[in-house]
Symmetry: C2
Subunit: 402 residues, 2 copies
């Protein structure tokens, strides 16, 4: 019998990192009574009208295989929704439905990078892109952003240097950013697009939080009148090397569903189809019916969610700023406060102390890579009353223990 | 503006093959009136009790993130189901829920092979494993099976030679086989397991069709009295290097749902979790509730489905055998007839002719790799009346046109 069965596991699989948040979550769950704001998830269940669409579809027997890239009705609904948001009229051939935003990222990485390709990531950043790239055998290069009183800024010079080196497959641009709340300006995006055009690198654009922007942020009104972050859609041509990765999770409270999409130049359609075919082979029709309902009838829910998230942001940002001992508590976009506490440099240790001493659970910034080591991430896509509670626990702890 | 946007697409993505069945399906759909038996899918919608479980879960608000590897209740239900089928009592730590059987294969390939690793595939075989391996940058080596009057057989000598060469990461073993209907004997499996133990290669065991076995097949009764194909579960130790990939699609008529599982040595749990995390980050809880219902209350449906599929197999096999001009029409397992017509060597051309001249849609065998070029695949997981119709169309065409 075989006694050393795992020596032959693939290196890339063995090296895939554990989530840097899990240790804190486990400590918090074990302790009990902890207000856990560590995850990137709101507190609202999926709205009823979305669930009903899925229920009707299942009941009607839509339980068979379907189009790998998504049912045409959903791909058209995506095109229409983009038109309403960006004032463009995109071809539905640009859209491919995926089994989560995460899978959109995995597919994007596979599409643009062979093993050994380089992917540039401004950090701090959501770690899953880097991990997915690592599993591909791609080389992830962190390009730390700069943190100043006004917020986070791209290090354009470092990005330009890094992109100019051979083998750069892609630049990952997440704006509004998870975790930092940074919102790219139009000038940032022009710089990045120009860089991509000059070097041949792709941009993987994660604009998932595009509708969550606050007063300080650069923003643009959509044709529908909805405020949104600047987007590469504002400046790019249809055949620019940009892959947009997106999800239904955040806007429509569908985190648990695992449905997202990727938008790519239409000529890549067959490649996208193949990448879906050989990973999950598509998304359930009834899920897609729910997604259509979200796109077509979700504006009221979006208003509600954005309004309460904006209120919650105000509560936590004001409370933390008022202590005078916190940096970075007022994100420009997204739904996270990403802040550093005076004198605290080790976010893992601080996060564990906060569990034990303040019964509040935050994600340690070191999980988000270079530049995040001293920061903590708090998700405020919650009932404002809960965020008031969080603010109280935190400010009390700061004044008592810091 | 960028004028050659796709020259920088990843080679591995560009080389991912299109499905070899699509051309025939497109021709059939364009023509109309074609009885399409090209896909690997039954004609029964998902049973009501399974849908109801999902509906209840959604209505109860189970729409949030959940365990990456699957909810404990489903993993335990999988362990119990395996106990009932194989007479073992597996640890639930062995099971990870995946977003389809296809994704189980993708994860298995990622777990055992780095880019450049070699994966051996007895052919003809379902092409998606090879395509997923190709996307990983693994090298797929076809080891053609031998076709004789008694059916298909492994070429053990060729497998042993191939496995002994350096860099062999895995051997893919699909029994009962899609498309050939081959069912591995216990001796086959002992040979393969011994080979894996001696060479350090993993076995990726696809036993998805294990409950679809016919009179000619080697089979074993399960503790529940259900007839099933021999399984690596019968001979392997828990820490043998075997990854079982499986799906809810076929047994419980859930093809459209995209839910499956992977079974691995328990010590690989964290690796499995990471591979899920960085691909689709789990499966919707309401899907998993449906899967539990399938496992716990699905025996009656399974009886029904196996009975009608067995009847349908008898109809098509008898009709084709009777012509005296067909080889291979009596599969030992699975739910496909994979047969060659006298004098016809080019399955693509034959499949297209059958669309035009007999209004029947079959999958061309060349889509399944070396050894399949002359064969056609017909899915008989259908209403026996429909399979009678198919038999008539085919036998009429054979006597009129062959």
């Amino acid at each position: 019998m075989n006694t050393a069965p795992f020596t032959s596991l693939a290196d890339l699989a063995r090296k895939a990192p554990e989530s840097g948040i899990v240790e804190v979550m486990n400590r918090g769950r074990a302790r009990g009574g902890v207000l856990g704001l560590w995850a990137g998830e709101g507190d609202l269940p999926t709205p009823r009208f979305i669930i009903d669409a899925a229920t009707r579809s299942m009941a009607a027997g839509e339980t068979f295989y379907t189009w790998q890239r998504g049912i045409p009705e959903l791909r058209q609904a995506l095109a229409d929704w983009h038109a309403g948001l960006y004032g463009t009229a995109p071809d539905m051939e640009r859209f491919t439905v995926t089994g989560s935003g995460m899978q959109a990222i995995q597919i994007a990485v596979e599409a643009v990078s062979d093993p050994g390709g380089r992917i540039l990531v401004p950090t701090p950043a959501w770690p899953n892109l880097a991990a997915a790239a690592g599993l591909r055998g791609a080389v992830v290069e962190a390009v730390p952003m700069r943190f100043a009183a006004s917020g986070w800024m791209l290090d354009r010079e470092a990005l330009a240097d890094a992109a100019a080196r051979p083998g750069t497959a892609a630049i990952f641009v997440n704006s509004p950013s998870n975790p930092t709340g940074w919102v790219a300006t139009r000038e940032d995006q022009e710089f990045l697009l120009d860089l991509a055009r000059r070097t041949g690198a792709w941009i993987i654009a994660d604009e998932v939080y595009g509708l969550f922007v606050y007063d300080e942020a650069p923003s643009v009104p959509s044709p529908k009148g909805r405020r949104r972050a600047p987007s590469f859609h504002d400046i790019a041509e249809p055949d620019d090397r940009i892959l947009f990765v997106n999800t239904f999770s955040k806007n429509w409270a569908m985190t648990g569903w695992r449905i997202g999409w990727i938008e790519a130049p239409a000529a890549l359609g067959q490649t996208m189809e193949n990448l879906v075919q050989y990973s999950t082979s598509g998304v359930a029709v009834f899920m897609q019916r729910a997604a259509i309902a979200a796109l077509e009838s979700g504006e009221g829910f979006l208003d509600h969610q954005i309004e309460r998230t904006t209120r919650a942001r105000g509560i936590i940002a004001d409370a933390l700023e008022k202590t005078g001992r916190v940096r970075g508590a007022s994100p420009h976009g997204g739904f996270y406060a990403f802040f550093a506490l005076e004198g605290e440099k080790d976010s893992r240790a601080t996060a564990l102390r906060l569990i034990d001493e303040a019964a509040i659970g935050l994600a340690p910034g070191l999980a988000f890579g270079a530049g995040g080591e001293a920061f903590l991430r708090l998700c405020f896509a919650r009932d404002p009353a809960q965020i008031s509670d969080a603010a109280e626990r935190l400010t009390h702890w700061i004044s008592a223990s810091l």
